[in-house]
């Protein structure tokens, strides 16, 4: 490389494919200018490698230096020693080969299968190298952010992304919601999938707020014709001046025993109580919930319990739990409309549905509704996909279901039983995938975690959380240091299916009028206006 703007960092001095290579820094490059997560290119004699800095260490040529340090107040001394007796080493993980051999020239970057040879020159990656790796925005790829200290765009292949379940993780306040909103906008913009968002805090439908309390636009404001806002809490939506398309009401008769299993922990139900639910539903049929709640402490009901061999304390435990559910205002004995059918109708028309929970941010309500709706929608999707396979027609449009507080649905105890566990595992067979958002990834079942295609993680500092997010990643320890060094705002590590290599991005700006412009293609805006006049 003889380009003027290349910045030589040093040369490769040792390393292995598994552990990455060590780069001795030139005296002209300062360790203080480096940052983990930055990209470098390594120019081997035959290939060009693209890698990431994962660690930076200080070295001395002679141990005496550490015991009797030189006079640091003497600038001449420090200048001479810098890069010779004292030097910096970079730990670089080569990830891809770019150019060099025929395959990578034709098919773009290839995963590395070897390491650069001794003393290959290491340069800071140029804009065009990064572009070569992460591509540029097109009809499949969505610009999500920029690499650290660079202006190049990092693009996610959304068509690939929606083929698997994905996860967005991070401590609270690290920008998960903003990232999710961005990703949803991307999916809407590219039309790669139709979304169903269980919006616990009502921040994806019409508008949300940033940390400074300013309003930021959400999906419906960008794509009014493509987004429908459903609500469980009409009053809250009205107060927030959000025009809703449908008010969801759920009848008691729509709740099945399977819907209750997930609530075992939140309702504090015992194992026998769950058994009792199945028995009662066999006995009462569709109206089991209503009937159970109406059972009084009479001899008649005592006999019934005896007949079903349900212990009295179990029954009391169950009734206490059901009383919690009963207090949820959006539940009624019989719903006038079928919300599942409505949601499916919208989804079929390619309209994305955001379900706002309004005031009912209680986890019980969230789990109950999300599980109930998803189970039915998934069944329908499965039927349709199978039908489409049988009749050789087009399968239904890919559906992405967004859930927050995912560890409540996907923890090891319930992941085997809930629909979300099944969706996460069966993945794309039925064209339904999940977008899970969570702050405690360690609470999610390992098996589910391993099936998550693309993981986008903001700062995490709990060791268990980091371990669980990075499970199954090669060179885990390298990424551990990168992950724990992320800034608490606007930075995320993306790795998995939709990116050619793990990448740390500064997420794209969201919230200013300028940033909004890019989300809607101008012809789209014009078309929307035309449709209005039609």
């Amino acid at each position: 490389m003889t380009q003027e703007d290349t910045q030589k960092l040093g040369i490769v001095v040792s390393g292995s494919l598994n552990k990455g290579v060590e780069v001795k820094m030139d005296s002209s490059a300062s360790v203080e200018d480096m940052a983990v997560g930055r990209y470098v290119t390594i120019d081997g004699p035959k290939r060009r490698f693209f890698g990431m800095i994962t660690d930076i260490t200080l070295g001395v040529i002679d141990q005496k230096l550490t015991l009797t340090p030189p006079d640091v107040s003497d600038p001449f001394m420090t200048e001479v020693l810098a890069g010779t007796s004292t030097y910096g080493t970079l730990h670089v993980l080569p990830m891809l080969t770019i150019g060099g051999d025929a395959a990578s020239l034709l098919e773009g970057p290839q995963p590395v299968k070897t390491v650069p040879s001794h003393f290959s020159v290491v340069n800071l990656a140029l804009q065009r190298d990064v572009e070569l790796v992460f591509g540029s925005e097109d009809e499949r790829k969505f610009y999500i952010g920029t690499p650290l200290d660079m202006e190049t765009k990092v693009c996610l292949d959304l068509a690939e992304l929606v083929k698997r379940s994905n996860g967005i993780f991070g401590k609270s306040g690290t920008g998960k919601t903003f990232l999710t909103r961005l990703l949803l906008i991307g999916m809407l913009q590219k039309g790669t999938a139709v979304n169903l968002v269980f919006d616990m805090h009502s921040e994806y439908g019409w508008e949300g707020r940033n940390e400074r309390g300013q309003k930021v636009k959400a999906l419906k404001q960008f794509f009014p014709s493509k987004v429908a806002v459903f609500t469980l809490d009409e009053e809250s939506s009205r107060r927030r001046r959000v025009s809703t398309d449908f008010v969801v009401r759920i009848g008691y008769d729509e709740i099945e025993p399977e819907d209750m299993v997930l609530l075992r922990q939140t309702l504090n139900l015992t194992e026998p109580a769950i058994e009792a639910i199945y028995q009662l539903s066999r006995r009462f049929g569709k109206n089991w919930l209503q009937s159970t709640m109406e059972m009084k402490d009479s001899e008649e009901s005592g006999d019934l319990l005896k007949e079903l061999s349900i212990h009295e304390s179990t029954f009391q435990n169950l009734q206490r739990g059901l009383a919690t559910i009963r207090r949820l205002p959006f539940l009624m004995s019989h719903s006038p409309d079928n919300p599942v059918q409505r949601i499916l109708e919208y989804l079929d028309r390619g309209i994305n549905v955001v379900l706002e929970f309004g005031r009912y941010t209680d986890i019980t309500a969230y789990i109950l509704v999300a599980n109930l709706l998803t189970r039915r929608i998934h069944t329908q999707y499965r039927d349709r996909t199978e039908k489409a396979q049988g009749e050789d027609t087009a399968p239904p449009h890919p559906l992405v279901i967004t859930i927050e507080e995912a560890h409540k649905f996907l923890n090891p105890e319930v992941a085997g039983q809930t629909i979300f566990g099944i969706i996460a595992r069966e993945m794309r067979k039925y064209n339904v995938t999940l977008l899970v958002i969570d702050q405690r990834p360690s609470g999610i079942d390992d098996e589910v975690m391993s099936q998550i295609g693309t993981k986008i993680t903001c700062l995490l500092d709990n060791d268990r959380d980091i371990d669980s997010v990075l499970a199954g990643v090669m060179n885990k320890s390298e990424f551990k240091s990168v992950l724990s060094k992320l800034e608490s705002k606007q930075q995320a590590l993306i790795f998995g299916h939709a990116v050619p290599m793990p990448v740390v991005v500064r997420t794209r700006e969201y919230g200013s009028a300028e940033s909004y412009k890019d989300f809607i293609p101008s012809e789209q805006a014009e078309k929307d206006i035309e449709e209005l006049w039609d």
């Binding site: 230096l65 001449f76 007796s85």
Partner: protein
């Protein structure tokens, strides 16, 4: 002629690794560490001055003290003008490279210097040309000389840097080379660096 002005002496003893020259004028030996050259055409030999002596012309006859009745040191020489002829100044150099066919080599020449070869002090341009490469430092470090190597290396770098406008950069570059060569001996490096800074 500039060349004549730079002429500082004449080779009186030579070996593969160095040569000794006698100064034309008493006490006029080039400074410690300076770069001198002598010719054995077509080869030019470069040496670094590592030692200078002034002794009696005859080895057996030591000078005697004469100043008891004189007012100043100059008076001694004035009243005994023969002294200038009875004493001699010599300097010893270590050969650090040679030039053959206008090409510089920073290693020993195939043959030692010729006796009675004229010795010249290298002008700044030539010092600059020679010090483009620091390979000569290795010869200095590995030499076995009666003077301290630290002193000699520091003196030669101090002399050479005077040929440069940006003395600091030159000394830093030389220091870095030394840091690599003396990687196993930090104390020696520190001693040399302490003598060339500033």
């Amino acid at each position: 002629m500039a060349e004549l002005a730079d002429r500082v002496g004449e080779v009186i003893e030579a070996s593969t690794t160095g040569f000794v020259a006698q100064c034309y004028e008493l006490y006029q030996s080039p400074p410690l560490g300076s770069l001198v050259k002598t010719r054995d055409l077509p080869v030019e030999l470069y040496g670094i001055v590592y030692n200078a002596t002034t002794t009696s012309l005859e080895p057996g006859r030591r000078p005697i003290a004469r100043g008891k009745d004189e007012a100043s040191e100059e008076e001694i020489y004035r009243s005994s003008p023969q002294l200038l002829k009875l004493l001699r100044s010599e300097f010893s150099t270590l050969v650090v490279g040679h030039k053959d066919d206008d090409k510089l080599y920073h290693y020993l020449p195939p043959k030692p210097a010729r006796i009675h070869g004229f010795v010249y002090l290298c002008p700044p341009e030539e010092v600059k040309e020679f010090s483009q490469s620091f390979d000569f430092l290795n010869i200095l470090i590995n030499a076995h000389l009666p003077v301290s190597l630290d002193e000699l290396i520091a003196a030669s770098l101090r002399q050479m840097c005077q040929a440069y406008e940006d003395r600091h950069s030159f000394l830093v570059a030389a220091g870095k080379e030394l840091a690599i060569l003396l990687s196993g001996d930090f104390n020696q490096l520190k001693a040399i660096l302490g003598r060339i800074k500033g």
